[in-house]
């Protein structure tokens, strides 16, 4: 039993990270009925931009760079956590502008478009930063390990899980507790009526999409110190994101969160007790759940079903 506890804890922290990775994807699928296949590439881009900003050669004029580098790493990191998603959000904005032509058509077109965008972003990453790996530096306060119950744990992991929980809470407040969230939900449900209520739907969609891409970028920044940074890292993110959404059910916020935790627990426990099955276990979990619950745990009927 005591052997099991660390693995449960590990599974939960892992689950929070999975939920964080899926969050931006979930927003765009749930609120815009668009599958954003570029989610993974934007995730990677977030990590790269953050690495560039916190690294020794920030993309700034020499004087500013000196000032910036004089700041302690902790400050730079904290600032980056805000700046990098904004930069990635601008790319998201570009994608949304292209995406507009697919609204109201077969969702396959949005898929094709974002697949193309994903390829372009990955190749641009390779052109700008090369094929090598990078490391995202994190402040020493959240780095290293600590001893707990005879085992060494990674501090960063708990920090990451904490941030993930915080961001999940923030997104929840935004969607469930603000008028903006309500408008977005209404827009997803019935786009005509929100327009007839005087709401600028294109701006609303733009905001949601950009917000989704910013969340992808944040997930990239948070996960990068664990996974490492490389051009094709996005693929590693987009698949779990998919999985979490389907498991939780399209359009369900808590579905995604619970599914993320479930997947984390499943992978974590399988890693300890049936290690070779750990990655496969999440697919088996998905098939098992979706066989009995057609729309995932809390999924609703979606426009994308037709």
């Amino acid at each position: 039993m005591f052997d099991l506890l660390p693995h449960l804890l590990n599974g939960l922290t892992l689950g929070l990270l999975f939920a964080l990775i899926a969050l931006g994807f979930m927003l765009i699928v749930g609120l815009m009925e668009q599958i954003n296949l570029a989610h993974g590439s934007l995730f990677a881009l977030g990590a790269y931009v953050a690495m560039q900003l916190t690294g020794p050669r920030p993309p700034l004029p020499a004087d500013l760079a000196k000032l910036w580098l004089a700041l302690p790493l902790g400050w730079r990191y904290a600032a980056t956590l805000v700046i990098a998603p904004v930069i990635v959000g601008l790319i998201g904005m570009l994608i949304e502008f292209c995406m507009r032509r697919t609204y109201g058509k077969d969702p396959l077109y949005g898929l094709l478009l974002t697949f193309g965008a994903a390829m372009v972003i990955e190749e641009l990453i390779r052109l700008v930063w090369g094929t090598r790996d990078y490391v995202l530096q994190v402040p020493s306060a959240i780095n290293g390990g600590f001893l707990f119950g005879d085992l060494i744990w990674s501090s960063y992991r708990f920090y990451a899980a904490g941030i993930a929980a915080g961001i999940i809470a923030l997104v929840w407040v935004l969607i469930e507790k603000t008028s903006f969230g309500a408008t977005v939900k209404a827009g997803a449900h019935d786009s005509e009526i929100v327009r007839a209520l005087g709401i600028n739907l294109s701006r609303l969609r733009l905001l949601v999409f950009v917000f989704g891409t910013m969340l992808a970028a944040i997930a990239g920044i948070i996960v990068a110190p664990i996974w490492g940074i490389r051009p094709h890292m996005g693929v590693d993110a987009v698949i779990p994101a998919f999985l979490v959404i389907v498991l939780g059910g399209v359009g369900s916020f808590w579905g995604a969160v619970v599914a993320g935790l479930l997947v984390g627990l499943c992978v974590g426990l399988a890693g300890a007790y049936a290690s070779e099955w750990s990655l496969l276990s999440m697919y088996i979990l998905l098939v098992a759940v979706v066989t009995f619950r057609a729309r995932g745990l809390w999924g609703k009927k979606s426009v994308l079903e037709v």
Partner: protein, 430 residues
Amino acid sequence: MRGRQISRRSVLKGSLMASVIGGTGSFFGPWRENHAWAQGAKPIKLGLTCDASGQYGNSGQDDFRGIKMAIDEFNAKGGVLGRQVTFITADTETTPATGSRVAERFITREDCTILVGALHSGVANAITQVASKYGVIYMNTNSSAPSEAGENCSRVKFVWDGNGTNFSKASVKNSVDSIGKNWMLLTNDYVWGHTTSAATKAQVEAAGGRIIDNLLVPQNTRDFTAYLLKIQQAKPDVVATAIGGDDIKALREQVAQLKLDGKPAWINNQQDWPDVWGAPDSLFGVFGTTWYHKLQLPGVAEFVKKWQAANKDGPIPVPGNVSYNGYMSTRELLRAIERAGSTNNVKIIKELENLKVSATDRMQHFDAYMDPVTHQMQQTIYLARRNAKPADNTDLFEIISWTEPKSAADDAAPTKCKLTPYEQVPTVDS
């Protein structure tokens, strides 16, 4: 069927026929470079099958830099047999199916008579199959699965990297004696991982140690916390890893963050320089390599300078084992052509099979030789660990031992490798 007229014995004849069927052969289409060769000497064209994207995109490009350097050196000296050496390269995407197609293109469309470059064993196998169909020589520069020189060996393929068995033989016995007998294995759940771990296991047991657990890690694992916890719970003396690709990079990060390096001791397989360079702070444990740019041997410093001059502002500041293997294999290939005095494939193969390179020439501690039975280069195997007192920011390794080729040789390989007889190799000449 018209195609049956084309002889399968010779690529050259085949492509000639194709152009005869197609007309005069003078029109080469919009993409074909159409040179008039000076003095009628047609260049020797190499096809460089280097990954530029996918898991080994980074290493593939480092491989390419070494290969290109050797080609440039020969061309600066006036080429080989008085002919220039040219090349073409295309992204093999770390995908075997692409490797296959690229190899077909290079051989049948670009008239390459030799292929060079490999990281991923699947891609290398795909290329090998196409190459051996046409009898085209293939330099497997950096794919280090033991099977490359075992069951998947080929008469036309030469393997230039040390493999998992070589590294285990160099590292295990010593570690069992000096560190402890309880070993745990961390094995990537695919062929390379399994064969590498099997080699380690055999060595551990032969040295009187025992394997207390073998954790199989699925490919594409990014989070190793579950395994690290499990290892801490099991408390082995030594953990031997056979984790490759992007997975080992993630593992390195995570072990480094926890500072788990030390208790237990970690024995890793070969760490490729392009992978290390991206995350130098995460090096941990003891690991293998075939070459290091700060070896205290004659010629190394000059080589590094030349390499740097050729790759100014490149993503990696110094050559590592991957670039080294690319360079060495290409250089020895071109030398073999010179010695053979011919570009006939079987003649070159025979030259390479009898290849012996002195320690000085290889910039390693011991003389190296090509094993004629397995086609694997038998070379010095180095063990290294993270350098606590680096001389500069590229000085990441501390070399702790070097093992001579014979002591690190994979004894099982010759029984697994069956090379096709020369007579069955299609003739290739350029």
